[in-house]
Symmetry: C2
Amino acid sequence: MSTAQGARARARIEVTAAIKDEARRQLAAEGAAKLSLRAVARELGMVSSALYRYFPSRDDLLTALIIDAYDSLGESAERAHEAVAQTAPQERWVAVCEAVRRWALGHPHEYALIYGSPVPGYTAPQTTVPPAARVGLLLIGIVRDAHGGPGGLAELPAVPEDLHAEADRIAADLAPDLPASAAAALVAAWAQLFGLVGFELFGQFNRVVEEREPFFRHAVRQLGRGVGLR
Amino acid sequence: MSTAQGARARARIEVTAAIKDEARRQLAAEGAAKLSLRAVARELGMVSSALYRYFPSRDDLLTALIIDAYDSLGESAERAHEAVAQTAPQERWVAVCEAVRRWALGHPHEYALIYGSPVPGYTAPQTTVPPAARVGLLLIGIVRDAHGGPGGLAELPAVPEDLHAEADRIAADLAPDLPASAAAALVAAWAQLFGLVGFELFGQFNRVVEEREPFFRHAVRQLGRGVGLR
DNA sequence: CACAATCGAGAGCACTGCTCTTGCTTTGGG
DNA sequence: CCCAAAGCAAGAGCAGTGCTCTCGATTGTG
């Protein structure tokens, strides 16, 4: 079903890939705002209108790049996790967080594309949801393992009255075996992780934090403690 | 030095303000990417080239809006803090965080402008630094009060070896009276706060967190605990 | 009063995303 | 095998963008 599709279909796949490659190159070089369909087409030796056969609009090209970026980040994180899969949950947690940071530093514009300001008028289609969830799922898995493993999770402060129902719902959706307090803390930690990464990447730490790597490691270790990892 | 400057100077100030107002209106309506000098000029009944007498480029207009946004956020946070200035540090901490969130929800595009992806090729001039620091200074002040107040700060885990020097430096820069561990935790919490706000605002919490307000309150209360507030 | 600085208007350049029409090539069914 | 249908690249064109430059008119100052 993948090959054996005739020269035309194969060419289409190749051209589509070439467009995305060139677009990614421009994205990395100049950022999403300066990504120009015409420039991509020019670089590929075609005329701009031809490009619309492959992507109906600039935003659709961006969507494709967004999905790829989520997948690239997810894969980096998963690979880093596999390398330490046999170690203690706390170490695996830190490893995944550090992989996220490394990927972000290595792909700043792609990171900005997926975790920065959303492009105006553009709402991500449902197809971006699964790739976007990969890092989150990884973190959930680590905490679940810790919960089921030796020692279990550390006791967390109870969630306040007005959050009981919501915390239960979050736990039921994400990890039914986890205590509601841990599930809620996990979601918060997930967001906070990207706060740390974003602040470093977008310059808010300039003249504030210099030794970013040990700072980050310590911060995410604390983050892990906050979700009950020992 | 402010008035008594002749009709010309006064007119200049007024026109400059009118441009910023209209630009802010377009920013709120459509986002930074769609902010067009020509559209602003059109709405003001002038021709686009005339606008360059007041702002040498589109990016300079954006810089002005960025500074205003930081100041608007800072003022909101400070006002919210004043209203609870007599209460316990933990409550003041939560109040400031909630003010940040409220401002962000009320000014999504301005928030995206200052805490989202930086515009490409654009590096914020030094003039943006003081307004950008206002929220951070507020949080520092709360923790310092708690440290000097009754009960002091809770004991925090020691920072690891490789972070000793950096944590000391951060403390020396930001709040010499605080323990290094608290200063480091404070900077991390500052970044994490904006991770929470950003994730809610930019849609990452869609279909994950529904009851955002109690969730946020609980998360920032935990954040406060993480810097030693009781 | 006269001179210089300041300002608005207009034309123009090089660019953008996107549409539509015109032909050429590949493909698959009769 | 052949031919209509579908896929494709190219080009012209539209409306919009940021920005520059020039040309009068207005204004403040020596």
